[in-house]
């Protein structure tokens, strides 16, 4: 039997995860104008930072989130200032920037593989399960949804009410004009890279808590994250929210549909791919622009 309520809850969980994971990607993509494929590893780093607190029972989940955020923010900031900023200053081509980001991804991923091994691990955490009518929801999911909503609200006020937030939008829409008006571009970009990586790391902690950890954790959800970045429109945070909701619904209803017509549920990823191709064919600018 198909329980619509349960699917809606599952969709909301998926959307929240993608939203947290995608925010930094779309903002840095909009500012720096190239996709950072090493972004997958920012997510993974968060998940493995969580292990410091959650490898044994009785750890504090909140501490894992905070540590993941801080470490990934540091990695994000240093990867921008050590790798990408020097490349941008040398007027490196777009393809070279993407190759560099993939190379950085391998450096980070295999460092994680060296440090923690390639075998899957899991957090020692038990989450209480609540049943509301037919619908099953865990405390982890509630925290995840609340975090995503909170992040969205905070970011909304940040982008519209603060000078730095306005500067981010200004640079994304017209970098030259922004420079002329005296915005410190480098400071704003660096801040966005570290903040975005931090949010991605939090998504990684949630993903690891909900499933398992492996050095491929981030890479495995990179495709849906790129799909919502494109669907929402590169650089648009509001577009991303709508896109994350759409993909969350599409994936969870899609999975039910897939098993209904006898196809493997492994095709979950293919749904994101179809959306990605659809966006490129019909509306490459995405929803928001």
């Amino acid at each position: 039997m198909i329980d619509t309520g349960q699917i809606l809850v599952n969709s909301l969980v998926t959307s929240s995860l993608y939203l947290l994971a995608g925010t930094g990607l779309t903002l840095t993509y909009g500012l720096s104008r190239f996709p950072n494929f090493a972004y997958a590893e920012f997510i993974t780093i968060g998940a493995y930072c969580g292990l410091f607190f959650l490898a044994k029972p009785g750890g504090f989940f909140l501490l894992a989130l905070v540590l993941g955020f801080l470490i990934a923010a540091l990695v994000g900031a240093s990867s921008y200032s050590l790798v990408f900023r020097p490349l941008v200053e040398r007027k490196t081509s777009l393809i070279h920037l993407m190759v560099a980001s993939i190379a950085l991804g391998y450096v980070l991923r295999h460092s994680i593989g060296e440090g923690w091994g390639w075998a899957t691990k899991s957090y020692q955490l038990m989450w209480p399960v609540y049943n509301i009518g037919h619908v099953r929801i865990t405390l982890l999911w509630i925290i995840l949804i609340a975090t995503a909503v909170l992040a969205a609200v905070v970011l909304h006020f940040f982008l519209t009410r603060t000078r730095t937030g306005k500067a981010i939008r200004a640079i994304a829409s017209n970098p030259d004009l922004a420079s002329v008006t005296g915005i410190n571009k480098q400071r704003v970009i660096l801040l966005t890279w570290s903040f975005g990586a931090g949010l991605a790391a939090m998504a990684g902690v949630f993903r690891a808590a909900d499933t398992r950890l492996s050095p491929m954790l981030g890479w495995d959800i990179l495709l849906p994250i790129f799909a919502i970045t494109m669907l929402g429109g590169i650089g648009s945070f509001y577009g991303l929210i709508v896109a994350a909701l759409i993909l969350g619904l599409a994936e969870n209803f899609g999975v039910v549909l897939l098993s209904g017509i006898g196809l493997s549920t492994e095709y979950r990823m293919a749904i994101a791919f179809l959306i990605l191709i659809g966006v490129l064919v019909i509306r490459p600018k995405g929803l928001a622009r």
């Binding site: 190239f34 996709p35 494929f37 790798v83 020097p86 490349l87 040398r90 490196t92 777009l94 393809i95 070279h96 993407m98 190759v99 560099a100 993939i102 190379a103 950085l104 991804g105 391998y106 450096v107 991923r109 295999h110 460092s111 593989g113 060296e114 890479w219 495709l223 790129f226 799909a227 494109m230 196809l263 493997s264 492994e266 095709y267 990823m269 293919a270 994101a272 791919f273 990605l276 191709i277 490129l280 064919v281 490459p284």
Partner: protein
């Protein structure tokens, strides 16, 4: 045997590196899903060879299927900026792997598929068989090398380079960008497909886990190290990288180290790429100037008194 085995793999990877050279080196297209077309070729070979097709037909099929996929998959992204193509090809690499895993009837899914060797039934000893494989792979590599070398010095090759340097100028000359880009990806993917077919028949068993994005990354390391838009660069880059790639595996098997050489190798490759892009983006070998009929005429004029 280790040496012969390494030679076969070097040849296969050199084919991949030269195929990326057509797309990226000459035409300026970033294909980040090379492994997908390699995989398509390998499975096309495996399926057709299992049906009893002769070797050359299976290889042609591998080239056709991979080539067709290369053109079709990239079409939605070709009118857009380079990053769209990168994301689409990279995603396609993931999707094709999922497809093969899920569709067990096609080629065994996660359990893989055995592939008949090209030299089965000839009663060759393992050593002779290895030599036969080296000859087969390197003969095809030599053919591809020559073909690409000639192709890139024709007017057609100049259009491809033109797209890389200045696509507006090419459009002004009345050439269709999308059509040429799709053709470049078709040629590149077809070569990758042949490499996949050769790979499948050589190792005689394939499963989806052999076709991870790692392969794509290795091919990029080869080309960036060797030098884009230079056939010798693509070849030498493949030889060097595959030498280290094999070497790290042998070291892993025979020497106890406090770290995993496989991990360290990829960390070093990653750092190498970043370093090269910062300080030597043209790699070991630079692109040579084009040879045209006009150039020959000019040199005649210059040398005559």
């Amino acid at each position: 045997m280790y040496l012969l085995d390494t030679l076969v793999f070097m040849g296969i990877f050199a084919l991949l590196s030269m195929s990326l050279n057509v797309e990226y080196g000459y035409t300026g297209l970033g294909n980040f899903g090379k492994v997908a077309f390699f995989m398509a070729g390998a499975y096309a070979y495996a399926v057709t060879a299992a049906l009893g097709w002769p070797v050359y037909l299976s290889l042609v099929m591998a080239a056709l299927i991979a080539g067709a996929l290369g053109a079709v998959v990239s079409l939605p992204a070709l009118r857009l900026r380079e990053d769209y193509l990168a994301i689409v090809t990279l995603s396609f690499g993931e999707i094709l792997r999922i497809f093969v895993k899920a569709e067990q009837w096609l080629a065994g899914g996660v359990w893989g598929k055995t592939v008949p060797s090209a030299f089965a039934g000839l009663g060759l000893s393992p050593k002779t068989m290895a030599w036969a494989n080296v000859l087969l792979v390197w003969a095809i590599l030599a053919g591809v090398f020559l073909f690409l070398h000639l192709l890139m010095n024709t007017p057609y090759g100049r259009v491809l380079r033109g797209i890389r340097e200045d696509d507006v100028a090419v459009q002004v000359l009345g050439k269709s960008l999308v059509s040429y880009k799709a053709q470049a990806l078709m040629v590149g993917s077809a070569i990758a497909g042949v490499a996949g077919g050769l790979f499948a028949q050589y190792i005689r068993f394939i499963d989806p886990y052999m076709f991870l994005p790692l392969v794509t990354f290795l091919v990029w390391v080869m080309l960036i190290l060797g030098g884009p838009a230079n056939h010798w660069g693509a070849l030498i880059g493949a030889l060097i990288v595959e030498f280290f790639n094999r070497g790290s595996r042998i070291v892993k098997d025979y020497i106890a180290l406090p770290f995993d050489p496989h991990n360290v190798q990829f960390v070093l490759f990653g750092l190498l790429i970043i370093f090269l892009l910062l300080y030597r983006p043209y790699g070991l070998f630079r692109e040579k100037p084009m040879r045209t009929g006009a150039e020959v005429e000019v040199s005649k004029w210059q040398s005559s008194p």
